[in-house]
Amino acid sequence: MKLRFRFAKQGKIRWTSHRDLARMWERAFRRTQMPLAYSAGFSPRPKVSFGLALSTGHESVAEYLDVELDPERVVGLDIASLPDRLTAALPGGVDVMAGAVIDEAAGSLQHEVTSCRYELVAAGAGIDELRELATGALAADALVVTRHRKGQAVTDDIRPAILSLAVVEEVDGGVLITAEVATQPRGLRPAELLAALSADLVEVRVRRTHQWISCADGAREEPIPLRRDVHDAPPAPELERVS
């Protein structure tokens, strides 16, 4: 049986890395005695697969992971209670928002997810200047940038990866921008998007709000949709608040 969980990573804990997060989940699975399926071989590993990595320092209310359960031990498992039990076993700031049984044949999150949406706060330019920059970028046929991947400089046109871009309002620390960017064939990072707009921009805060899977009919869906809009979803503490 395969389960998919949607979770949030918010507050101080966003300064942990993707690898750190994987270890937190492994410990939480053991604490909740989840009947995970293990790989065969000399060092059995639990069958857990994480979706898109979230950069260290970014928040998210739309992270996902898939786990495979051991069919022999799954009997009697109360799946509905799992999100709450896992949240209790995870460190504060990592909250499991939803869980769903998925098709055994479902593709991996890394391959399925086609785009994601960010809210980012940028400093270094006023709101009017940013609006002009955004309009210019959207009107351009190509935005060629040089960025680094695995230690190598790569020159790419990132314009096709910008699916939407909006300059919303002035907020504490800068200007709020929302952007939906493609994750295939190569993801576009928020910092790269800002750099493409202007070298003066500084990334102040970033939050991933959605991941999307494109469907054959042109529509799109979330790996696990939430019943409520994500903006109402708990918990969303202010970034600077101290516990």
């Binding site: 300064w15 492994e26 053991r30 005695q33 060092s43 260290t56 460190p91 600077e240």
Partner: protein, 647 residues
């Protein structure tokens, strides 16, 4: 007190591993500060990854937070990139729990486990906004205190630390809290700092260096003497008699990011009576105090359930010597509630086939590497250091390991030991080669790595009188071994930098005059000296020269029996004549058996404090062990049958 978090957070995007600075570990307490509570900041003066797992600090963190009159938070040395950011922004050192400024705590309490962190201690005090020299602090500044094994020679740090704690910290932190609480409630008025220090000097186990005068006659130390009649002439270490009364940590911290020893740690006993003469830990932590097996099992099952770890380390100075070891290991390995996925590690393995059998039971699936520490390359030198591992036991252990599926053996050795001849040094290569030969009988994929460290004589050991080998001599010995092992496939030689060994030697047996050297090195930018990328020998050499101090005199010189040693006013309970006698036995190549199961040598540790060894078993482990209950005449006999064909 204000949280610095809003000012710290913007810096986190600019530094490596920002999770070092956020706190939030599972098991961390929400600090409840109050004007009537004594606020302790427990500091580990090294990086977060090294400091977080420290069990001593975690034990005190829990004990203090359980008290109504105290609150404790933690801090670690910020990495160099973070330090640059903090200094540029004018932000002081902070606690990771609630991100309060370090200078607002009542006590900055350092854990000192290694000499090379001394400059980091100064750096942390300075980053806290506190004068580094104790004499320049005012009543508004925190008290700077320190504990840990290095405080058995506190003199090199005497100018910077207000009070040292000698020995086990569990009980004495309560007594210090009471004294400091009186001071705090009294308003920390002008002139009160001297009074609180004087009161602390009266607490057993606490050494306040400013209450003592030091006299020299030229280079020679004449004595360290109390300035007041109510200050003790000798400070005796603190020892908790019964480990069962202290089942801590109960809530071991689970870090969110990668650290060393990232697993559940359960201390199964404290103290060691093997009597290895180079080992300071074994000398100063006597007597042996075992934790009852039932409590160990409880701590393991509670700890695994709470933390979600899949590995537990049973910690002590020689874990296979624990009298209930079989029972505990089987209990964990076979306990269904621990699940099949839990691993057990014994960080310090004894060298014999029995121990390998135990290791095999633990590592049912993964058999990656096994580590032994014979320390000396020949039976002769092992008698000198009283690490009585017979050749037969060593090769038997190695044979047993390879026959049960291990392919990699790691061996630890010391070079620069007393009476060491080149034959002993080269014996390391011979021994490693023989281990490869034994392994080849079982498998073709054999690796034996030999790690070689330069020996640093430590205070309160029989070798405290020994002149350390020079850097050149250690380098020559490393080169001997490099030449000797160059052609050996299967033997990997690793060695510690003899330059770092030299500096450890300066700090290990230094007196109060070394303080100026430590300060100079710190002012010259020498922090994180235990990290090879930051270590700079020339800073230490220049500072020694600037202060007219001779490295030869401090490091390489044999001491005489009548010499006053800089730590003579600090007592680990060991009689100086016992240590001297043991030193003479060492020179006569005579080792001693473990006193847990043989008559007392009257070292002083038990009798002086009225504490007995607390062990569950009155007899040594089956088949004798490491020289105890064994025929020592056969110690040097190499069982040729085991070796097989030479590689």
């Amino acid at each position: 007190m204000e949280s610095l978090w809003p000012r710290i957070e913007p810096l986190l995007a600019r530094v490596q591993k920002p999770a070092r600075y956020i706190g939030c570990e599972e098991g961390a307490r929400v600090a409840q500060h109050a004007p009537w509570k004594v606020a302790w900041l427990l500091l580990y003066p090294d990086s977060y990854e090294i400091g977080l797992p420290n069990q001593g600090l975690q034990i005190l963190y829990e004990l203090l937070n359980e008290r109504d009159d105290a609150v404790a938070e933690r801090a670690y040395a910020p990495w160099v990139d973070m330090e640059r950011q903090l200094r540029a922004e004018g932000i002081p050192l902070f606690s990771v729990d609630s991100h309060r400024p370090a200078g607002e705590f009542d006590l900055l309490a350092f854990n000192l486990s290694a000499e090379l962190v001394y400059t980091n201690l100064l750096n942390c005090i300075d980053l806290a906004g506190v004068p580094v020299r104790a004499g320049e602090r005012s009543p508004t500044d925190p008290l700077v205190v320190a504990g840990g094994h290095c405080t058995y020679n506190p003199e090199p740090l005497a100018d910077f630390v207000d009070a040292f704690v000698i020995g086990d910290g569990e009980q004495v932190v309560a007594e210090i809290t009471e004294v400091v609480g009186d001071w705090k409630r009294g308003g920390r008025t002008p002139g009160s700092r001297e009074r609180v220090l004087r009161a602390l000097a009266a607490v057993p186990g606490v050494y306040v260096p400013s209450m003592y005068d030091v006299d020299y006659d030229g280079e020679r130390l004449v004595g360290v003497r109390p300035r007041y009649p109510d200050v003790p002439a000798r400070v005796e270490k603190r020892t908790i008699a019964d480990l069962a009364a202290w089942p801590y940590p109960k809530r071991q911290l689970v870090p969110l990011t990668e650290v060393v020893h990232d697993r559940l740690n359960v201390e199964i006993f404290r103290g060691c009576t093997r009597g290895c003469r180079f080992c300071q830990a074994g000398m100063i932590t006597r007597p042996v105090r075992e934790r009852p097996a039932a409590q160990v099992r409880q701590m393991i099952s509670d700890g695994l359930a709470r933390t979600g770890y899949d590995e537990v380390a049973l910690t002590s100075l020689s874990s296979a010597d624990y009298s209930g070891i079989d029972e505990v290991v089987r209990g964990v390995v076979n306990d269904p509630s621990c699940s099949a996925q839990v691993g057990v590690s014994l960080p310090s393995l004894r060298v014999d086939a029995y121990t390998v059998g135990l290791a095999a039971e633990i590592a049912k699936v993964r058999r990656t590497g096994l580590t032994f520490a014979p320390e000396g390359g020949t039976w002769r030198i092992r008698q000198v250091i009283s690490k009585l591992i017979r050749e037969e036991d060593l090769y038997g252990a190695v044979d047993s390991a390879f026959s049960q599926g291990w392919q990699r053996i790691k061996l630890y050795f010391l070079i620069g030991l007393p009476t060491e001849a080149d034959e002993d040094t080269l014996g390391i290569a011979e021994l490693a080669r023989n281990c490869v030969a034994i392994g080849r009988k079982h498998t073709n994929r054999v690796t034996v790595s030999a790690s070689v460290g330069g020996f640093v004589p430590k205070p309160h050991t029989p070798f405290q009188w020994f002149g350390q080998n020079s850097e050149a001599e250690l380098r020559r010995k490393v080169n001997l071994l490099k030449d000797e092992t160059r052609r050996d496939r299967g033997v990997q030689l690793k060695w510690h930098d003899p330059k770092a060994t030299l500096v450890e030697g300066i700090a290990s047996r230094g007196d109060r005059r070394i303080g100026a050297v430590i300060e100079d090195v710190w002012r010259g930018g020498g922090v994180f000296q235990e990290w090879s990328e930051f270590f700079r020998l020339e800073l230490w050499q220049d500072a020694m020269a600037r202060h007219g101090l001779s490295i030869d005199w401090y490091v390489h010189r044999d001491r005489t029996e009548d010499e006053v040693l800089p730590w003579d006013h600090i007592s680990a309970g060991l009689h100086k004549d016992f240590l001297w006698g043991d030193w003479q036995d060492a020179l006569a190549q005579s080792g001693v058996e473990d006193c847990r199961w043989t008559p007392c040598y009257d070292c002083g540790a038990c009798t002086g404090y009225g504490i007995e060894h607390r062990v569950a078993s009155a007899v040594p482990p089956a088949g004798g062990s490491q020289g105890t209950g064994q025929d020592l005449a056969s110690g040097g006999f190499v069982p040729v049958a085991l070796l097989g064909a030479r590689p």
